[in-house]
């Protein structure tokens, strides 16, 4: 029984990561490469330079196939991670995911875990000037946690008072505000706005694909396994 939950989640997550990679390799990664070209032009070598450059250089994938293959692998592992988390939450909350409600789970997962933090911290191209990493990660995790909890509470209890509290909780991180990027007067300008806009749309689209495949795939697989285990 445990096995079914874990297996369905991992399978749905890996497949979702693969599906999302179609958008990534076809579109998003090309925009990242384009942004890196600006980054190199502005500030020398690509990526973040580690503070101490004395030790051996850390692994970095070769451009082209190796880099894309690792991106697909990372997407699949991230998909499995998100699907397992969703499975864990749904199991603990005793709110089963199935074929009928899987897409709804996926959609609200997308809103809570992707869209809500993106409202304050839009997906960033390499080279984008942003606030200190730790503060952004703290805001990201807090926003994800409170938004997802609020959604679950509404789905579970469906009372006006819970709805009002949930709405306040969902708004709170945005009223407090995400860590703001420092104003750069005389430094690198970062990637052009048009490129950033294209990138944000591409990432949101690919994350929507990921979430919908996870939600529907996990629910459908659970139903299928249940049917096999107890033939009517």
């Amino acid at each position: 029984m445990f096995g079914r939950i874990l297996f369905a989640a991992v399978l749905a997550g890996l497949l979702a990561g693969l599906a999302m990679s179609v958008v990534q390799i076809g579109r998003t990664s090309a925009l990242i490469l384009e942004a890196e070209a600006y980054e190199v032009a502005e500030s020398g070598p690509t990526g973040v330079a580690p503070a101490a450059e004395t030790g051996p250089r850390p692994f970095s994938p070769a451009p082209g196939f190796e880099r894309n293959a690792l991106t697909v692998l990372a997407n699949m592992l991230l998909g499995a991670g998100i699907a397992l988390t969703l499975a864990g939450v749904s199991t603990l909350a005793n709110m089963p995911v199935n074929t009928g409600n899987g897409l709804v789970w996926g959609l609200f997962g997308f809103i809570a875990i992707t869209l809500a933090p993106a409202f304050g911290l839009p997906p960033e191209l390499p080279g984008k000037i942003a606030a200190e990493l730790g503060s952004r990660q703290t805001w990201w995790w807090s926003t994800v946690l409170v938004t997802a909890t609020a959604f679950l509470a509404v789905a579970r209890f469906r009372t006006p008072i819970v709805l009002v509290i949930a709405a306040a909780v969902v708004l709170a991180p945005h009223l407090i505000g995400a860590p703001a990027a420092p104003v750069v007067v005389n430094g690198p300008a970062g990637p052009p706005a048009g490129l950033t806009a294209d990138f944000v749309v591409a990432t949101l689209l690919q994350m929507l694909v990921l979430w919908l495949v996870i939600g529907f795939g996990y629910g459908w697989l659970l139903d299928r396994f249940a049917k096999k285990a107890t033939p009517a």
């Binding site: 998003t28 850390p58 990372a74 991230l78 199935n98 994350m207």
Partner: protein, 58 residues
Amino acid sequence: MNTTIASNISLSFSQRLVAGTLALMLGLALIVGVGFSSDMAVHNGAHDARHAAGLPCH
């Protein structure tokens, strides 16, 4: 015995607790490992996936 479509998992409370916690821990470990690890080799390998997922990366 169950006729509702929502009953694709019928576990006792303690079974749900164990299975749910296990799935949650595994899932979060994967997300943190792929998306937030500060190890430079992991960072470089998962770089494009992190940016695409909108995770605060660097």
